[in-house]
Each structure stands twice: as structure tokens, then as C-alpha cells.
């Protein structure tokens, strides 16, 4: 048993924490307030190689390991969950499936873009296919050298800013989940447009939109994997995605905890800093314990993923526990701030709003429990 980060992982934590403190934290409140996508920050993240960091060097990546990736998302999310989420969606849900299932031609065409300048997105969820992702209504019809897509996707992270999308659609309804296929779609392909931009409770700086496909013809060469492999691709991408969201939730919890510790040492009531009172101390102890537990679950899932062994259950547990920890820690940390926690001068209310999404996207907590229990009872 070797429970220690590698030197590289430690330095990546230092570097991303430094980046987060200097580039992300100062604008976090403002981009939340104004719902502004942090394009300049993302450009810097491309420059330092966080975008697409896990991809091999031949495609412009850094060949980084999964734990290093989790650490990067955690540190960014500690200051701004929206920024962490942008990175997680790009890396786990767009870069990874193209690398894992793409042909050499597809990889050479798309991955260098995804490591240098182009943001990626992933389109699975539909108005009537959320938790039941198999109920896909978007259809892809084979027509000569093309597939023609019709339908729509909702709640798509990075949608408004992405240039490359991994999209799922039914190629054969009669086959159920086995009839779902994955496609690489580029921004600007005829018949592909953006719909409504969502106004969200949290992670307001990330771009979440509807995608609309109206007789959108895609070259046959943009089929990702084989016909009918789409559901498998989606589920395996979501395993990685859940490690990413677990890391995001972990970062939110840690960020809120840091604020709570600093505040309770400063805030004086009844003549003493409130950190003196047992109520505060026990709350902080519980928060820290849960955060550490979440951290080991997230890094453990990342480690398992790195080894290449099946890790759906570990990813689901990491995401479930970390997201519920984020929700609980932000709620308690806000309570420790009293009235100041409720106003926008302090980051607590933003962190609490941000924490909520981690219990919902890339599979709700209920979906995670389904995955975990299915694995137990298989």
C-alpha cells in the first residue's frame, strides 16, 4: 500500500493551486454574478496544458495521470466550481472518448485541437432522456456517405463555447441501448445550432445550452467507434466524468471549509472568536473528516481508472460521496458565517449554489446509487 502522491502530482497541486489563487479566485464572484464564461482563463489553461492534460504527447497532451487530473480539477474548483467543471467536461467527456474510441485519423484531426485551442463538449442528455439515458430520441439516419441527425440535447456543459462535440443518437431504435451510436460533430456543421442558454442556480459562469440538430449531415467518418457502441462509449466516458465531478465537488467542499476556518478564527461573538465554541469546533471536525474521506474515494477511483481496471462502482461512489459532502460542507460553512454567509460579499452562498449541481449532473445521486447497488448485486 502506497498512500502518497508522486512528486509530479504534488507539484501539479502546487502549480494549479497557485494558478487558481491568482487567476481564478479574483474573478470567481464576478463571473458568477454576470454569468460570464471565463474565456481568458480557459486560454491560459490551454497554455499550461491542463486542457487535454491526460492525452498522450503525440496529440499535444502531457500524458498526465488520472490522479494529477483530479488534483487539477479539485484545485480549480476550490476557487471557482464553474472553471473546474469546464475543465472536467472538456477532458473527461470530449477528449477521452475520442482518444479511447477514435480512429487514428479522428485522433490526429481532433485531439491536437482539443489540446491547443478548441473547447470540447458532450451531448447525451435530452428533454426526455435524463436519468434514463437509454431513451434517446435524437436519431441518426444513414444517407450515402453521411449520417443525418435530427433531435435535440439539453443542459450541455460548454455548449456555447465548444468547437468539437461528442454526440449520441439512435441509429437503430429497435435495438434499444445497443442502437445508440456516438458521433464527432463540429461547430458550424450545417443543420447544427445552439438553442436556449440556461440560466442556472450555480456554476453560472459555465456555458450550458441546448443543442439542436435539424437534418444535420455529418460525414460518415465522424462516427465514433462502431454503430451501436454509443451507449457503451457514453457510460465509460461518464465513469471518468464522475471522477472529474467528484474532484470538482471535493474542491468546492475544501474551498468552503477553508473559508469557514478563516472566518471562525476572525469572527468574535460573546467576546471570543467563534472558533472557541464547541459547536464550531465539532462542526469543523466533521467537515474535515468528510472531506478527507471524499478525497481518498476520489483519488482511489482515479487510481483504479489509471490501472485500466473496471471502476464504474468506484467512480460512482466517489462522485456520490464527494457531491453530498460538498452540499453538506457548504451548508454548514454558510451557517457558521451567519448572516454574512448569506450575502454576496462572501463566497459561501456561491459555493453552496455551486455544490448542488454536483449532486445532479453526470448522473444524479440516485443514478450513482443505482450503479453502486447494481454492482453489489450483480
Amino acid at each position: 500500500m502506497h498512500l502518497q502522491l508522486t512528486k509530479q502530482q504534488e507539484i501539479i497541486r502546487q502549480m494549479t493551486a497557485d494558478f487558481s489563487a491568482r487567476e481564478v479566485r479574483p474573478i470567481a464572484a464576478e463571473i458568477d454574478n454576470t454569468e460570464t464564461f471565463p474565456m481568458q482563463t480557459v486560454e491560459k489553461l490551454f497554455k499550461i496544458g491542463v486542457m487535454g492534460m491526460n492525452l498522450p504527447r503525440e496529440y499535444g497532451g502531457a500524458g498526465a495521470d488520472e490522479i494529477a487530473y483530479a488534483i487539477a480539477v479539485e484545485e480549480l474548483s476550490r476557487a471557482c466550481a464553474a472553471t473546474g467543471g469546464i475543465v472536467a467536461a472538456h477532458n473527461s467527456l470530449c477528449c477521452w472518448p475520442i482518444w479511447k474510441y477514435g480512429t487514428e485519423e479522428q485522433k490526429n484531426k481532433y485531439l491536437p485541437k482539443l489540446t491547443s485551442a478548441t473547447i470540447g463538449a458532450f451531448g447525451l442528455t435530452e428533454p426526455n432522456a435524463g436519468t434514463d439515458a437509454s431513451a434517446q430520441q435524437t436519431v441518426a439516419r444513414r444517407q450515402g456517405d453521411s449520417y443525418v441527425l435530427n433531435g435535440s440535447k439539453v443542459f450541455i456543459t460548454n455548449a456555447g463555447v465548444a468547437g468539437i462535440f461528442v454526440i449520441f443518437a439512435m441509429t437503430d431504435k429497435s435495438l434499444g441501448t445497443k442502437g445508440i451510436s456516438a458521433f464527432i460533430v463540429e461547430k458550424g456543421m450545417p443543420g447544427f445550432s445552439l438553442g436556449k442558454k440556461e440560466e442556472k442556480m450555480g456554476i453560472r459562469a459555465s456555458s450550458t445550452c441546448e443543442l439542436i440538430f435539424r437534418d444535420c449531415a455529418i460525414p460518415r467518418g465522424n462516427l465514433l467507434g462502431k454503430e451501436g457502441e454509443g451507449f457503451k462509449i457514453a457510460m465509460s466516458a461518464l465513469d471518468g466524468g464522475r471522477v472529474g465531478i467528484g474532484a470538482q465537488a471535493l474542491g468546492i467542499a475544501q474551498g468552503a471549509f477553508d473559508e469557514a476556518v478563516a472566518y471562525t478564527k476572525q469572527r468574535v461573538q460573546f467576546g471570543k472568536p467563534i472558533s472557541y465554541f464547541q459547536n464550531t469546533r465539532f462542526k469543523l471536525a466533521d467537515m474535515e473528516t468528510n472531506i478527507q474521506a471524499a478525497r481518498w474515494l476520489v483519488y482511489g477511483a482515479a487510481f483504479k481508472r489509471q490501472t485500466g481496471k473496471p471502476h464504474s462502482k468506484e467512480a460512482a461512489m466517489a462522485k456520490l460521496f464527494a457531491s453530498e459532502t460538498a452540499m453538506e460542507v457548504t451548508t454548514r460553512a454558510l451557517q457558521l458565517h451567519g448572516g454574512y454567509g448569506y450575502i454576496r460579499d462572501y463566497p459561501m452562498e456561491r459555493m453552496m449554489r455551486d455544490a448542488k449541481i454536483t449532486e445532479i449532473y453526470e448522473g444524479t445521486s440516485e443514478v450513482q446509487r443505482m450503479v453502486i447497488s447494481a454492482d453489489i448485486l450483480k
Partner: protein, 263 residues
């Protein structure tokens, strides 16, 4: 173009604590960092490398763990690094340090530019840069807040207390950087994997490698030495409410401001 960047590993002085009994620094738990001005010097070298291509070598003198700082420089984009590490160097003041650095620069062969920070945050002397330039008999421009190169002409804005001057010189030259010069980049993920991996490109040289006499470096060779160190006199404890008439209170406050050299 060949650029040598001289850097120093320093304790993060924001985190330094002093033992009030002994008047010495408590080093335990104080993180070591790349000296901030040196980071600006490295960034300038990397900008020149990005623009026109250059080979950037980072040079430092320090204990073996100073290699960590060199790795940070490599992860930012430097090509190779040299660590001068030898017990014989210990206790060197700026005069002795510049002897060792000059010998290392000569051993490295030719260069067009030497870039370094104006001063290190632990010693705050700002002396090693000029003294290295003197040892190498080259021109120096200190306090550079901008730097342009056109063929063999270097042009800098040199910051003064009341403005700046534009100074020109020819390569080879030594330039010292201040934080206004640029905004240092971060290490890249890829750079971190390479620099902190097994085969980091760092050479370690001792006195024997430099071909200089041990009497030129270290504590014994240093003209200056620390006689004693102590904590600065503590800030007067507790608040003092001023009283009297408005003029009396204002006068007392002005006297205090004068004591603090604010007026």
C-alpha cells in the same frame, strides 16, 4: 542566442518566523520558493526564446535541495540547469558568490545575455548581479522594467525612483529584472512531468569542477560576515488612545508619523 539565467532558492519570507529568544530564523515548515525577481528574469529569457529562439540555461548556487528550484525553472521552459553545490561554497557573501557564479559561466562557454533578478528576498542585497558582471567584465543594466533586443543591441528601461531612463548596450551584457518587467508564466503540466521525473537535465558542479581555488569562495573568502542577528524591536503592544484638544491629538499623531519616517 544563448542566455544564462541566475536564480536563487529562497525561503518564502511571508512565512518566515523568528525565534524571539535566539533571534534566529525558524526554518522548519517554511516553504522554499524561486526568488520572485529571478522568476521575472527567467520569464524574459523564455519570451526571447519564444520570439527568436534561444538556449536558456539556469544557474544557481545552493544546497542540494536547490535542485527543486531548478526543476521549477525547467518546468517553466528552460533548456538545462546547473547547480553549484559544495560545502566549500557555504557562507559565501555576495563577493564570494559572484566568484563562483563567474567561474561557472566561464565553464558554460559563450553567452549573449545573463539575466537575473534585481535582488533576492532573503538577503535583499541586489549585489550579486553587478558583481558577477564585474567579474566577467561585461556591461550591466540593473532594475530593468523592459527589455528589447535588436541584433547585438540591448535596450532597457531602467527604473529610477523618480521615473526611468532608457539605456542601451551591446551583448554580452548582464541585466537584472524587476517585477514590472513581465508576468512570469506558470509551469506547464508537460514541463512538470519532465522536470520532476527521473532524467531532469541538471548538472551539479563543485569547486573542483569550476577549476577555482577554494580560497575564492565560502565563508573564509567572504569580506563580510554576520556579527549577530536579532529580532526587530517588537511593535509596541496594545492601543494607545490619544487625548487632549484636537490640536494636541493631531500634534501627537504627527510626532508619531515622524517617528515612523512617514513625514
Amino acid at each position: 542566442m544563448r542566455i544564462i539565467v541566475c536564480v536563487k532558492q529562497v525561503p518564502d519570507t511571508n512565512e518566515v518566523k523568528i525565534d524571539p529568544e535566539t533571534g534566529t530564523m525558524i526554518r522548519a515548515g517554511v516553504p522554499s520558493i524561486l526568488n520572485p525577481d529571478d522568476k521575472n528574469a527567467l520569464e524574459q529569457a523564455l519570451l526571447l526564446k519564444d520570439e527568436a529562439g534561444a538556449h536558456v540555461t539556469v544557474l544557481t548556487m545552493g544546497p542540494p535541495q536547490a535542485a527543486e528550484t531548478l526543476k521549477e525553472c525547467l518546468a517553466m521552459g528552460a533548456d538545462d540547469a546547473v547547480l553549484l553545490s559544495d560545502r566549500a561554497f557555504a557562507g559565501s557573501d555576495t563577493w564570494a558568490t559572484s566568484n563562483a557564479l563567474a567561474a561557472a559561466v566561464r565553464k558554460l562557454g559563450g553567452f549573449d545575455l545573463i539575466l537575473t533578478g534585481r535582488q533576492a528576498i532573503d538577503g535583499d542585497t541586489a549585489q550579486v548581479g553587478p558583481q558577477l558582471a564585474e567579474r566577467l567584465d561585461i556591461a550591466q543594466i540593473t532594475y530593468a522594467q523592459s527589455l528589447e533586443i535588436d541584433a547585438d543591441t540591448v535596450r532597457c528601461q531602467r527604473l529610477l525612483e523618480d521615473g526611468y531612463e532608457i539605456v542601451e548596450t551591446k551583448t554580452p551584457a548582464l541585466i537584472t529584472a524587476i517585477k514590472e518587467l513581465n508576468r512570469p508564466r506558470y509551469m506547464s503540466i508537460r514541463g512538470i512531468y519532465d522536470a520532476f521525473g527521473e532524467n531532469a537535465n541538471i548538472k551539479v558542479w563543485g569547486v573542483a569542477d569550476l577549476g577555482i581555488d577554494a580560497s575564492q569562495v565560502g565563508l573564509k573568502a567572504s569580506p563580510t560576515s554576520v556579527n549577530r542577528s536579532f529580532s526587530p524591536p517588537p511593535k509596541p503592544k496594545g492601543k494607545k488612545m490619544l487625548d487632549g484638544t484636537v490640536d494636541e491629538m493631531a500634534g501627537a499623531l504627527a510626532a508619531e508619523l515622524k517617528r515612523l519616517h512617514v513625514i
